[in-house]
């Protein structure tokens, strides 16, 4: 099974699948008021990953109504007057909302899960990294700069072939090892696989301000 892996803080890809199923069940029970995590199969229908999308993470008032696309002369174009009738509500300045997509994908070379995420506004335009940083809770920003376990990098999503941000996995096995060794009960009862993702996400989720309720760890 995986005791040797557990000792190293890693897990096999099959065990990732097992842990993911347990995680989904656990989450949907404990966090029923949250949108559910779903398991998405890759196009080859062999591998899969966990997905939680369209999370509303922030809404602040918009500062100015500038169009997002820079370019000369775009305002100079005379648009034909378009019919608007009285029955149409004229939009006031809407709230600036940021949406986040989170994917948990298994990494073969490091043998650990990796959190991929992206952020975009209500038009679908991807957010810049510093805008994302502004969304992050204050403790997370500090943790990112202090800790050598967590680096946010931008890399190609393994299935979608577009750049997503991810928390680099190079330190994961080391701190997962510490997590599991610290809790003897976990190591002995052998439920380490099923709780792996919960434990992992409780650390990693912090970075994007996702809190894992304690109840999830006690679920078994």
């Amino acid at each position: 099974m995986g005791t040797k892996e557990e000792a190293q803080g890693t897990l096999s890809s099959t065990d990732f699948g097992v842990s993911a199923s347990a995680f989904i069940l656990n989450w949907n029970t404990v966090c029923s008021s949250f949108p559910p995590w779903t398991w998405v199969l890759s196009h080859h229908q062999v591998e899969g990953y966990l997905s939680l999308e369209n999370i509303l993470l922030s809404s602040t008032q918009e500062e100015h109504g500038e169009l997002s696309c820079p370019g000369p002369g775009k305002h100079s174009h005379q648009e034909d007057p378009i019919d608007v009738d009285d029955a149409t509500l004229v939009h006031t300045n809407p709230c600036k909302v940021h949406y986040y997509d989170l994917h948990i994908i298994y990494c073969n070379s490091y043998r650990v899960p990796v959190l991929y995420f992206r952020a975009y506004d209500s038009d679908g335009e991807p957010l810049e990294f510093d805008e994302i940083e502004n969304d992050l809770p204050a403790y997370s920003k500090k943790a990112l700069s202090d800790s050598k376990w967590t680096f946010i990098t931008q890399e190609e999503h393994p299935y979608l072939n577009r750049p997503w941000y991810k928390l680099h996995p190079c330190g994961t096995s080391e701190w997962m090892k510490l997590l599991f060794h610290a809790d003897d009960a976990l190591a002995k009862t052998g439920v380490a696989i099923e709780l792996y993702l919960v434990a992992w996400l409780s650390v990693v989720g912090h970075v994007v301000g996702l809190r894992i309720p304690f109840e999830m760890m006690k679920q078994l």
């Binding site: 696309c69 648009e79 149409t88 509500l89 939009h91 890399e155 577009r162």
Partner: protein, 657 residues
């Protein structure tokens, strides 16, 4: 709500996922080309699920037809679920920004409105109600800049006169407690069944015993018993408490035409956390007074019952209150050059984070390197420099690529050899650009003036010009690599570098041995009397002479074991990086490998040697230190002053005496 006012509808809002543009770009590049016929697409929406934020009509990668050769001329509505009600739409993409702005928006909107009108009259809208929310998208995809201009329209048939609002309140205030419970349960059941979850228009029938059922709108006949409350329900993307969402507009049109109702009670169905939320949902009553029988404006006499009489339509989406198109730039995630740059940066950053926190990436990326020689050594050094993040590289070589070159000179291929062969400097620059498009590479086709080689009198001015050019090149770069294939061609560059105190790295190859070294600081570089490290010529006892005359072919071509050049080039670049990270830079003392000189060995990159001599026959390598010589023919102060005088008086010591 007592006063009678018209119903004011909140417009649909669009949201386009990045994946849609990615997929569309791919479709355009691989399949469509310049074909700009309209494309059927599918939009997705769901009822509002948040009290402060409306839901959007979303386009995803799946909204487009697949790229495989399944011909589908009708809108293939891909699978929906409770969070994704599919809605048919059409995309008009133009090939230029001018034609984008020139599209006749009025008539395009009218055409889509007509489709809705037709579906209402033929009854299709009763069977497949999602067609009531049919939408239109016009776009211009600029695939050079990766920007996308677009504009949505959500055609709505205009009721003339407009519908008046008799009443609008929260659903929880309209229904009794019992009724509310039953309505919620029935709606949740509708939403949880895979057969109905994505059907956005429905009927809610509440019998006198407060029992509610939700039915398809085609079952309208069956809800007609007395005492039943009948509401026309629809998934409302809008969250506002005083306005119903856009889908109600065409729903009212349908109700008026099909069933000739004047008074319509409607349910704006909204959710919270996946369940019906009757506090957020609204129930209202609207009065429709469009002419049905008397003469309509077009003078036909049948009003709305007349299929031929298309009402006006509105629906172009406002952009922050203005009637203009939207624009989104996806260059960062789609432009291959940008992606290559960020991938390259990431690699170096990872090195810095995990292994070498003191790595100075800025110094590397801003360093300007001059490579004299674009042969076996030059090609490899250039590649290694790029791998370290150096972007500004100049290559100097006057030769052309020969047939034997591509094997050992890693920037060239057979194509460069044809038709006499391209100039190496030019071919190298092109090659570097193909490897990493953001490199700033320049090629200079020029011979390096050499002492001891005879110069015909008609060439004198050219040679002087080359000296001047070389002087300027050395001056305008930060580090110089001497990578030529003769000793004497290294002499003038050494002198020029010593004069301007530039970092200079020499690599020289024998048959199975190599030398890689860094020249010491120039003689005028500092005021103190410390001993400088030597240059390539410091340990000579004679002046460089013409070493190519009277040599056999293999000596002239400096045939070496192929493994040597890559090893020497790699060491040369690593030596440069070491200098850059040493606090004393060019003034750093020469260190020896395995030395017990622990003081200076604490540099993160390790020791910084002066000279590295290696032997392939031994698979061995050693480090050496050599001090500068006061009688060096290249870097001694007396020599440099003499040379300055010579150049300024337009005579060159290169000319044979």
């Amino acid at each position: 709500m007592a006063s009678e006012s018209i119903v004011v509808f909140a417009q649909f809002q669009s949201a386009v996922d990045e994946g849609f543009w990615h997929r569309f770009s791919s479709l355009k590049l691989n399949k469509l080309g310049i074909d700009d016929s309209p494309i059927p697409i599918t939009g997705f929406y769901a009822p509002c699920s948040h009290p402060q934020v409306s839901n959007h009509l979303t386009l995803l990668a799946e909204s487009l037809p697949s790229e495989s050769n399944e011909q589908s001329s009708t809108a293939a509505t891909s699978g929906g679920n409770r969070n994704r009600c599919p809605v048919p739409g059409i995309l008009y993409n133009t090939n230029t920004i001018e034609s984008f702005h020139a599209l006749d928006k009025k008539s395009l909107l009218k055409a889509e409105a007509k489709k809705i009108w037709d579906d209402i009259h033929t009854g299709k809208a009763v069977e497949d109600s999602a067609v009531l929310s049919r939408f239109l998208l016009i776009s211009f995809a600029d695939l050079k800049k990766w920007t996308f201009h677009y504009w949505f329209a959500f055609p709505a048939l205009v009721l003339d006169p407009p519908a008046t609002l008799v009443d609008l309140r929260r659903a929880s205030q309209y229904f009794s407690l019992e009724e509310a419970k039953s309505v919620s349960a029935a709606c949740n059941e509708w939403r949880n069944s895979s057969l109905t979850a994505d059907v956005p228009f429905f009927l809610v029938c509440v019998d006198p015993n407060s029992l509610a059922t939700v039915k398809h709108i085609k079952d309208w006949e069956t809800c007609q018993s007395d005492g039943n409350k009948l509401l026309f329900g629809f998934y409302d993307p809008c969250h506002l408490p005083n306005n119903p969402g856009w889908p109600l507009r065409n729903f009212l049109a349908l109700i008026s035409v099909r069933w000739n109702l004047k008074s319509v009670r409607f349910l704006c169905y909204r959710e919270n956390r996946g369940f019906a939320d009757l506090g957020l949902s609204l129930v209202g009553e609207a009065l429709i007074t469009v002419p049905q029988g008397r003469a309509a404006k077009t003078g036909n006499g049948l009003g709305w019952r007349d299929h031929q009489c298309l009402p006006n339509a509105v629906g172009w989406e406002q952009n922050k209150g203005r009637q203009v198109s939207r624009c989104i730039s996806l260059a960062k995630s789609m432009d291959p050059t940008r992606l290559a740059i960020s991938a390259a940066d990431l690699n170096l950053k990872l090195m810095r984070w995990r292994a070498l926190p003191s790595l100075n990436l800025n110094a590397l990326s801003s360093m300007k390197c001059l490579l004299l020689g674009a042969g076996t050594l030059g090609c490899q050094v250039a590649r290694m420099l790029m791998a370290w993040g150096v972007r500004k590289i100049t290559l100097v070589d006057n030769g052309r690529v020969a047939m034997s070159n591509p094997l050992r000179q890693s920037l060239y291929t057979l194509d460069d050899c044809l038709n006499g062969g391209e100039y190496k400097a030019t071919a190298a620059v092109k090659s570097l650009g193909r490897i990493f498009p953001a490199v700033d590479a320049e090629g200079v086709v020029m011979a390096i003036p050499m002492p001891g080689h005879p110069v015909p009198s008609q060439e004198e001015d050219n040679v002087l010009e080359d000296c001047r050019r070389l002087h300027d090149l050395v001056d305008s770069h930060d580090a110089v690599f001497l990578l030529t294939d003769t000793r004497e061609s290294r002499w003038l560059p050494t002198l020029l570098c010593a004069n301007t105190n530039k970092i200079t790295i020499t690599a020289a190859l024998g048959f199975d041995s190599f030398l890689v070294m860094r020249h010491g600081a120039g003689p005028f570089s500092s005021n103190d009397e410390r001993q400088r490290l030597g240059c390539y010529f410091c340990s000579d006892v004679v002046a460089p002479i013409d070493s190519t005359a009277n040599r056999t072919l293999d000596q002239q071509c400096t045939v070496t074991r192929p493994g040597l050049a890559p090893i020497a080039s790699a060491l040369a670049v690593e030596l440069l990086v070491g200098i850059l990270h040493h606090p004393q830079g060019i003034f750093a003392d020469g260190e020896l490998a395995n030395s017990s000189n622990s003081g200076s060995c604490e540099q993160p990159l390790g020791v910084l040697p002066h000279q590295i001599r290696g032997s392939l026959s031994q698979f061995s390598q050693m480090t050496l230190v050599g001090q500068s010589s006061n009688s060096c023919t290249a870097c001694s102060s007396t020599n440099i002053r003499k040379e300055e005088w010579n150049l300024s008086s337009k005579q060159s010591i290169i000319l044979p005496i």
